[in-house]
Point group: C2
Chain length 193, copies 2
DNA sequence: GTCTATATGCGGATAGAC
DNA sequence: GTCTATCCGCATATAGAC
């Protein structure tokens, strides 16, 4: 395997771990183990843990916008619904949306803050300028996204079977694509260490 | 000052710091300094940092529900709007909503996870059972709340003046009460260390 | 390019004085 | 009830071998 591939591999592994534990709680050693390399090598490749996280965020935002542009290119009817479904599908990319969400809460950080604000606003601008949404429609769309991120962060699907309220809430929040969240929850619980 | 008051003081200070930095990034020393006591004393009072965070979360959820019940008791017209305004007003309680939001993303944590899921579902049940909202209305309400939390976590108000998109987004998201978020942002930047 | 070994700093928690 | 002093473990980062 050559270096470029290995780098991508580490980035994917890091996305998963950051998504699970957040930026600060994640150790470079956990990332290294997940990627099957040594801890110092992870640091060597990216300089610092902070740089690694920034690359994870950048990659995640890239994929998000690429995905959305793909949906837009396909057709333009029921855009909001189709973008929403594509967003939920991104949950399959382990840790992608959750790494972003963790980043969003670090707006007070002098380095991470500006990056996540710019990233979030790029998504907003896509909705307004490329997808042609009104300000209200864009906002509504993002509200749904933040709600999904939160429910996934909460691991609300853990209570899907045992708690009627959790069940109802998830069904209401995910008219379609409920299966993606439930699959993901099962996978996460399985790999629990 | 007697012990009970001091305990409350530390809890308030901790809420502010946890809200700013998140659970893991917050040090018990930062909390101690913010409260004007010694670091070991903070640990003594609450046992562990984790226990302290759990108490912060519990207090925050209490205040949230107490506030909502107060709004409900006043009158029952335009409930959704009035609950929303009361929610935004809770931003004045420094770190309260952000500590909760940080907690919500720690659903994978074996100790914190169950607590935040229960707390979130209690709010949902309030909306459904006490406020009489439909499942869809409850979900919509929570979506708006998670969006607000995210925008505040992002410190989006930092870009309010310099970025037209940020400006538009904040205005769309906060038809009223924009001043609360802007005041808060100014205060946060002022105390930046 | 990738590893092992390790230095260094920091933070939670404890001991114990007052 | 509250402090000072301090232990200990852990995580990032560096040095340097292969």
């Amino acid at each position: 395997m050559k270096a470029e591939d290995r780098r991508e591999l580490v980035l994917i592994a890091a996305t998963g771990v950051f998504g699970d534990r957040g930026y600060v709680a994640t150790t470079t050693d956990q990332v290294a183990k997940a990627a099957g390399v040594s801890q110092p090598y992870v640091v060597r490749m990216f300089g610092t843990k902070e740089q690694l996280f920034l690359e994870v965020l950048g990659r995640a935002l890239d994929r998000l916008l690429v995905t959305f542009r793909g949906v837009l290119a396909e057709s333009s009817d029921n855009l909001s619904g189709r973008l929403g479904l594509a967003y939920v599908e991104l949950l399959r990319d382990r840790g992608l949306l959750l790494s972003l969400m963790h980043g969003f809460l670090l707006g007070a950080d002098p380095v991470i803050g500006p990056v996540v604000r710019r990233g979030f606003l790029n998504v907003y601008r896509f909705l307004r300028e490329e997808a042609g949404f009104t300000a209200e429609a864009s906002q509504r769309f993002l509200e749904g996204g933040m709600m999904l991120n939160t429910l996934v962060g909460l691991r609300m699907s853990d209570d899907f079977e045992s708690d009627p309220s959790a069940n109802e809430l998830l069904c209401a929040a995910l008219p379609q694509k409920l299966d993606v969240v439930l699959d993901l929850g099962a996978a996460q619980r399985a790999e629990q260490r």
